[in-house]
Amino acid sequence: MVSDQDLLKCSTKHSEPAIFSETYSLALLEKVKSERVTQALTQWIEEIRDWTSAKAYFVGHIKVFVEGQENLWLSSTGRRISCQQSQGWSEWSLDSATLCVTVIVFGTTKEALQVTAEESLKTCFKTSLPNMINGF
């Protein structure tokens, strides 16, 4: 695996971004409506967006993909949040899924981005799905 330094050697004309890119296995204690997962992840993107705005960082992109029987795709460049989903997402109740997230931000460090992104993700899930979430 190459380092972040190596990843962006090509981009010598601008500062290198911090990258947070993770996969999580979501395990819920009982089935919940997909809408609550959408709510948690939308709130997470908003929190990342607010953090970058408050610190005057620049968002490359924020992307979220929930993969299961149905799929959810959220993305933002720090402005509006685009939400796309598979046809049956709204009607789906889930107790497990795979969550993939990637956040690319200019102006901060990988460590600071990781701490903020992970803490915020936990908080958002605990708020939207209290006492329901395992797997983090």
């Binding site: 695996m1 190459v2 190596d6 990843l7 962006l8 050697k9 090509c10 981009s11 004309k13 601008h14 971004p17 990258i19 947070f20 890119s21 993770e22 996969t23 620049f58 968002v59 490359g60 992109h61 992307k63 979220v64 993909f65 993969e67 799929n71 795709w73 993305s75 933002s76 460049t77 402005r79 509006r80 685009s82 598979s86 993939c100 997230v101 990637t102 690319i104 200019f106």
Partner: protein
């Protein structure tokens, strides 16, 4: 193989546009599958993050996707791209290959590599997506990258024009045409379904 090489900064909407182009090619040329059972459209997806997301979005649409992740094909994964492309040619020989670069890549560098080392290539078109919503910010923060991505593109798609007023779209369009006067230029919003006639002209030259 006809190759469509997509570039453009992070968040400009490359994946959304590729989904529409793939649907267009599938409908227009019935390229989803040849009689041999081999796909006639293959997408090479390059992402800098260790967790691929765009590849999953495209796969969820039933598309045939190869991933090159955790690196950039215009530098660290340069050799891997050539190997991947030539393997696709040998194993599948599809009619179309779409390559989605990372938002940090210089498409002309990749085009040079493909032209030099790629096998079985009938045509190569570089399509760069520009973000209308963030044009002013990006032009100010990283003008070198943005201009170099657009310079030399065969086609420039100014995306997210729904976020701007018509007068602003006109100003951004003029900026872009000033950077690359010879490229085909289309102002679109991939948030909605794009007129297939635009894909006909931008992607296949109306063939």
């Amino acid at each position: 193989m006809h190759i469509l090489l997509f570039g453009g900064f992070l968040g400009s909407g490359k994946t959304s546009i590729i989904l529409q182009v793939a649907r267009y090619l599938t409908a227009e040329f019935s390229v989803q599958q040849l009689a041999s059972g081999k796909p006639s459209l293959v997408i090479i997806e390059n992402e800098v993050g260790e967790t691929g997301i765009d590849d999953k979005i495209l796969k969820a649409e039933g598309l045939n996707v190869r991933e090159l992740i955790a690196g950039c094909i215009c530098c660290t994964l340069n050799a891997e791209l050539t190997v991947c492309l030539n393997k696709i040619q040998e194993e599948l020989s599809p009619e179309w290959v779409i390559i989605e670069t990372t938002g940090m890549a210089f498409p002309h560098t990749i085009a040079e590599t493909i032209t030099k080392y790629g096998k079985g290539i009938d045509s190569l078109k570089t399509i760069v997506v520009a973000d209308a919503e963030r044009w002013d910010d990006l032009s100010a923060i990283m003008p070198g990258l943005i201009e170099e991505q657009i310079t030399g593109a065969n086609v420039i798609l100014l995306n997210k024009i729904d976020c701007l007023e018509p007068e602003q779209v006109k100003e951004v369009s003029e900026d872009i045409k000033g950077i690359n006067p010879s490229g085909l230029f289309y102002a679109i919003s991939a948030h909605e379904e794009v007129d297939p006639q635009i894909w006909g002209k931008a992607v296949t030259n109306g063939e």
